[in-house]
Amino acid sequence: MSVPIEPDQQPWCRKLYANEGYPDNYTDETFLRELRKNIYFKPVSFKEAIKGASLVINELCTVVLFVLHYTFLYNNWIDPSTVFTYSSSVTFIGYIIYSFKSISINKKTIGHDVRTLLMYIVFGHLFSPVLHTLTDTISTDTIYTMTFFMMLIHLIFFNYGIDGSIVSNGLSISAAIFASICLSSRLASAFEAFVLMTFSTQCFILFPFLKAKVDNLYFITPSLVAFDIVVLWCVSKTMFALFLCSLVLLNGLCPYLFVKYQRHKDNIHGPWDEAVVEDTKQI
């Protein structure tokens, strides 16, 4: 099919109706000239990668902290009212910091928050016996497995501050709350269950709000890690070792591999890409 091209022929042009005399499978020199590679590529430094990974570490530590509290309550190593008192105090301090950081805080929102708090305490107390017995009949092994998977779902779908199709705040919070309902059925009394539910609300619902306002998370994360490590060392040596391994994996190996494999990025762009509609937000 390749017909030799005569010298006096019209030059080939990028039009479908022109190019008389050229075979249909003719490939011009201009072929693929519009091809661009990696045009939106921004290299991520190792420091930035570690910074990003520390967000995951932060959430993982919160989960571990919560489970540790469960262990302490379950074994009666700690008085439930002590947990309630100090967690509430920390939450109160957190609320004050949050109020200072927010610009649009006024009497009305404070009133609203107080009302929410009262409603939570009343309904929490009312329903904690129900929640306490809700998953009572399920065997303890099943409960622990379920808790593990729910926490995993929580960590996967958590909003770490990046827009992605996988991010789902609703799913992530629901999974964490469901895990705490599962665990609370193993505790001795309804009050302990209420304390654990309160603690999980503080960890998984209120704490992310505070984290979003506070800029230098890098102060919170090390202290959380340190606390978790110390307590895990006292509770179980195996868990301590596993936690250290996951820290190294998440905050060392993963960022290192991410930075290393960046050079393999090969993203192709060209005129066939779908145009992006920008100016239609406010119709």
Partner: protein, 438 residues
Amino acid sequence: MVVTVCMVSDFFYPNMGGVEEHIYNLSQCLMEKGYKVVVITHNYSNNVGVRYLTNLLKVYYIPIKVFYNQCVLPTMISSIPIIRYIFVREQIQIVHGHSAFSALAHEAMLIGNLLGLKTIFTDHSLFGFADASAVITNKFLQITLAGCDHCICVSHIGKENTVLRAGFEKCSQRVSVIPNAVDAIHFMPRPELRSKDKIVIVVVSRLVYRKGVDLLAKIMVEICEKYPQTAFLIAGDGPKRWLLEEVRERKGLQHRITLVGMLQHSEVVHVLNRGHIFLNTSLTEAYCMAIVEAASCGLKVVSTNVGGIPEVLPDDLIYLREPNVSSLIDGLEIAINDLENGKCICPYECNMTIRKLYNWENIAKRTVKVYDSVIITGPTKPIHVQLKRYLSSYVWPFLLVVSLVHLILKLLEIIVPCDSIDKVKNVYNKDLKKTNCT
């Protein structure tokens, strides 16, 4: 000797669209040239079994369940017996698959390859490379194209895209560019139907995100506010129709913007002939049949400058603009001003130009050239050569699929030998006409 061609695609009449039009018109022209053509597609509600269309175009609607978006589930093996039976019965020599979305076309081409038939593939669409779904679809396309003898694209940009997706950089002579065409006699201008006191802007497209409905919603409001003499006529339906209806309602433009909904392809010409300007807001497009149809009816065409659109029409028939609101409005304003100042080409002249540039006769001639080139490429390749060809896509597990299909075909050869299958007697179109006359 009569060459028999089998067109395979999930998309065919009664479904409506560019691919369907292409297969139908190409088949008609090939039959006119003395080729024997059959079409294989999956069943459409009532259409199951064998049907005959105009000029005895034989269509097999094979009974396979539709899985997603008018496509069958690519099981690779479950439809082997029926497809093999049809290939043998019709004595097919060339399998011509259409559209990268069509799972049926991919399956039939694989079976055709292993039966030693020539395979040709026409790609009608463009794909990105960025997201996960594109990566998977591109891998599938790469596998199919590794086995096919020749590939046809509908525009130069489509060729670049396909070559990149299929990893064909070294053998781009295996890819031809043959555009679509329109039936310019059907899309005849009728200026007497146009409104005398208003300027009507026509839009004919499916109302989906890829066609730029979000752009259209904003443009129509701004144009209606700025030019009281304009009106919009929008044909087509889709998931984004609510957006246009809502905008129309909120701005109180019910008397200016008409939504006529879904149309049969034969009715499109009546809508086009009521307008002065055609607006196309597509965000990506391999060829864009709609603008050619509009130009054929003598309308001024304003379009986004994306994909293969700049290759389609000569500069004096189209106003190309960037895909954003302000640029497209600018294009429409120039078109409106040109109309009011009488600066326009005679509609009949437009029609004659389109008739010269794109006609199915010419497209069929060029397709026949491709058929001729693959028919002479020697005898069937043995299975190990075939496997090696599929290996070039670097998807090792797919070799297992190919081998399994090969084994099933061998097994079928024992259960239902080729000799036991009745061959269809060749009834030539032209002979039939003669008998009809006498």
